[in-house]
Assembly symmetry: C2
Homo-oligomer: 565 residues x 2
């Protein structure tokens, strides 16, 4: 009881000022795979593509027999090769129904777009052919930069009639190889369509072209007292059209939810060039099927998003951050429930990490200090609040923390006193990936699972691997998004074989998702059955055929390359 | 300045306790049309259907030539007759491709469902054939009550092969004739599928069968400390499957948003009997097209929703209500902006009414007292807050009101001191419809429009009609949902001709919606072009053909009966 009291005092003593943490690059964890890779790029018919090693050998027992179609295509294929260890490789064949670009095609595009928006030079193309992690590389010979919807329409109408495959490209910041060509697809980059069309300060509804960069939109809105409902590490490059097309999640998800809830309307161009105007700016509209949702998250495979209407929340001024310790995972769950109940309307982040994650950071990163040094606890939780009134919000947070401490949910904790302290707390959470890289090899999984079952997977994996590896569990508990990471001194196929397909089967069995927010792209197109039922995939394929009968839009992505089971 | 100070004091003096208002039936305004109606019901081929008079003569100049197809069908038609005044009537013909029910069909259904779930008796059928407002009546000879998804699948598979038309029915509480047969469609009522499947107290995710009554779900959740993210006047009868199928809005929309944001997954049965399992329970899942959105708001015309997974918010304990006066509409808009900024996270309602609406209530309803009797103001606003901490929330509201008063946005105002006072404030807002009925004839429009332009329509209508009518504007300002009402002593075609099609054209011109939350059903299927573009409707039609090639699911609803423009 005495300890509880002292801890509570500490919480209260340290909470003296509001903070606004500058977080480090939240996508930093994705950078780790780049180190030490060697890439071999082939020609159109023999390009080596190196995806994440998150997506190694997948035994799709759950739904479809991978064996049946692996090796079906041997000639003129684009092999997907896996890094460091030689597990099963799948192949993607260039679709022979697509035409090869001709000089007449170029002439046509120059005619409709003007010479300066038709790019064939190697410098421009080499950048656009490769994703920002330098893991995927295509061999496109042409990049087009339309300046308006009508030009996008003319391009697609022509490409469809000529059966020229197209890859829509925004900021090219995707993580699953969705925004670069696989072979020689024509790149349609919408970066020149970057005008803000309107902003309604009363309703907070922004209408803009799809090529607007997320950070620019956010800066514009902040000047108006609003902010974008999504925030990504790539915000300086990614474009809103790409965000919508990939249903980007990001840091503000726990507070503002999915783009399916925030996007009010879009304008999209279908494969045949038809422009679908669904650019409503209304929160309520029940006049028929809400087809914009088809284009949110379909990764450019159903149409190119050209304009977006989005509901933006007000920018609130008061931000607080607490770093807490819990003895067990059940306490973390209960704390989440209590935080939702007591802080509900001001809760803006609820992140967790386990003791293995904390140990990893303390061991491998310099300048990191444990905010709760008296003991190593089993779990750590970061709770951030964002509200409209500094003093009330802080009192509310402090009262909540005191009650949780007295109730035994929290074993210890501190509240950041200033922006530096807040940044140091976030550094622990966001430094896990960097620490893992320094520790050696890492097998990394980004899963969405029911919160109550989420940590069972970490514990089962720990039992499964024994002393051969360290198993870390951390992530966005408030969004039910687990980062499961297995750390070893060096890569070992036998370790991988113990992890996969177990991790995917476990996720599938618990109705989880193998891609919480990154999409499927090229990388996970064949893994779809771990999360989606065959009937749902069949329906997806039918919709794709309906909207893009020639399959010219972003081929080889999202949908499985194999025959349907 | 002195007045401001006194007003502010009043605000502070009166705000002494938290309240939980019991509102009157929020759908009461829809009851007005029933009074004095006389209905003539014909047989299958000559059924008289009486829709709202919100949907009188529609000159669809905006997009499609109504003239071209009005009167196309004369024989064996179901006439849509308009009440009281003889404007243009449109006709719906029974689709001759649908089969007529045979005794063999009945035998089959008895075989798969058992005798007690196959209804042919007149009592049961007469209730199910008619909507709850007694405005629409079909002539179905058969009602089926499946008990599980597999039975729904067997029914649809059979109906599809036999080309028997089907109307899916939940609680039959819709307002646009969407849930009753138009002719002899087989009624598939899912009310027996009413089990709660699971509830996760940590994530707040509820999974249940589609026949669960909304109020039962809400009661279940309240015991768990949660609540449904939607609340309707019809909650005692309506079913969650129907709510999802119609994308129901309701009272909690301004706080929790649309079902597109809250529904995490569904299971649906397509016309051919295939079961599509999209019953995810994850907040994050980016594995391909999110096809559940096709079924949210498609009014049962693409499939029958059989199970639902929904994210439910925590029930918060502190509720406060203020009744305020503003001098002009610009102040109302600014107040909304400020309320979002200062109360943001606890704001749960922002309703407005103009002086004509207030005058109507004070004149025609008994026992209504003006909470601000010192003067008649141009606009009145109700602001409700719902939060987790009574004392903090109240202080926050009071500080906000004081600032708004000092800033000149509010001219006067009171905060409810107890539940009775809160109910009396809500009674004013919700009594407008009843008052309008007592005043004589009313022409009623439920529109979604950009907030900044919304009241322009009321003013233009007032100028247009001059002294011949009273024009009232009120509604859910926080949702940009306007109730435009024109009140006259008696119905008059010349008044109607001045209102329509002007009101629809104005709504269309400002990219508004002619159906903010009720859907299209039978009533507004032909009006879709006022809000949706022809290309979007074409795409809707394609999707309908893809998912239901024989068109057996809820025919004559949602999609226009006319050839596409």
């Amino acid at each position: 009881m005495e300890k509880l009291f002292r801890s509570s005092q500490r919480l209260l003593n340290q909470s003296s000022s509001s903070i606004f943490p500058h977080r480090s690059n939240p996508n930093f964890e994705h950078l780790k795979h780049i180190s030490g890779s060697s890439y071999v790029y082939g020609d159109i018919c023999n390009a080596y593509i190196k995806p994440y090693f998150e997506c190694e050998t997948r035994n799709l027992q759950a739904y479809h027999p991978l064996k049946d179609y692996v090796g079906m295509f041997r000639a003129k294929t684009c092999r997907i090769q896996y890094k460091h260890f030689g597990s099963t490789a799948t192949t993607v064949q260039r679709d022979p129904s697509f035409s090869i670009l001709s000089s007449d095609d170029i002439d046509y595009f120059v005619e409709i777009l003007g010479e300066k928006n038709v790019f064939q030079d190697e410098d421009k193309l080499s950048t656009a052919n490769m994703d920002w992690m330098r893991k995927y590389k295509g061999s496109s010979k042409l990049l087009l930069q339309p300046r308006c919807t009508e030009e996008v329409s003319q391009i697609l109408k022509y490409c469809n009639s000529r059966r020229l495959a197209v890859v829509p490209q925004g900021g090219n910041t995707g993580l699953v190889g969705g925004s670069v060509p696989v072979f020689d697809e024509v790149i349609v980059n919408i970066g020149c369509m970057n005008n803000i069309i309107s902003f309604d300060k009363v309703s907070g509804i922004l209408v803009c072209e799809a090529g607007c960069i997320l950070e620019n939109l956010d800066s514009f809105l902040i000047n108006q007292g609003f902010l974008m409902p999504l925030d990504l590490g790539a915000k300086g490059s990614c474009q809103i059209g790409g965000n919508v097309s990939t249903n980007a999640g990001g840091l503000r998800f726990v507070r503002y939810g999915s783009l399916h809830g925030n996007v009010l309307g879009i304008e999209a161009v279908l494969a045949d060039g038809s422009v679908i105007d669904m650019l409503g700016t209304l929160r309520k509209d029940n006049t028929g099927y809400d087809l914009k949702h088809l284009f949110i998250g379909s990764e450019g495979s159903l149409g190119i998003v050209t304009k977006v209407s989005i509901l933006t929340p007000l920018k609130l001024s008061s931000i607080n951050l607490a770093f807490l310790a819990c003895n067990d995972y059940l306490s973390c769950q209960k704390l989440l429930l209590e935080a939702r109940r007591k802080l509900g309307e001001i809760l803006s982040a609820f992140e967790f990490l386990d003791h293995e994650s904390m140990g990893m950071v303390l061991t491998h990163l310099e300048g990191i200090r444990n905010p709760l040094p008296s003991s190593m606890y089993n779990f750590y939780v970061l709770i951030e609040t964002t509200g409209s009134d500094e003093s009330y919000d802080k009192e509310k947070l402090e009262a909540f923390l005191l009650r949780s401490m007295e109730g035994g949910l929290i074993s210890d904790g501190v509240v950041a006193q200033d922006i530096n302290q807040a940044s140091s707390f976030w550094r622990i959470r966001e430094g896990i990936t960097e620490a893992l890289m320094k520790a050696g090899a890492v097998y990394k999984y980004d899963l969405s699972l029911p919160v109550e079952k989420m940590y069972n997977l970490v514990e089962e994996m720990r039992l499964r691997l024994g002393l051969s590896a360290k198993v870390l569990g951390y992530g966005h508990l408030g969004d039910a998004n687990l980062h499961l990471n297995v750390s070893t001194l060096q890569y070992d196929d036998s370790i991988l074989a113990q992890i996969e397909p177990f991790v995917y089967e476990w996720t599938s069995k618990h109705r989880g998702s193998i891609s919480a927010e990154h999409g499927l792209g090229l990388m996970k197109a064949n893994e779809i059955y771990y999360t989606k039922s065959p009937e749902t995939v069949r329906l997806m394929v039918s919709i794709k055929k309906l909207l893009d009968p020639n399959g010219i839009l972003n081929p080889y992505k999202v949908l499985p390359h194999s025959p349907l089971p």
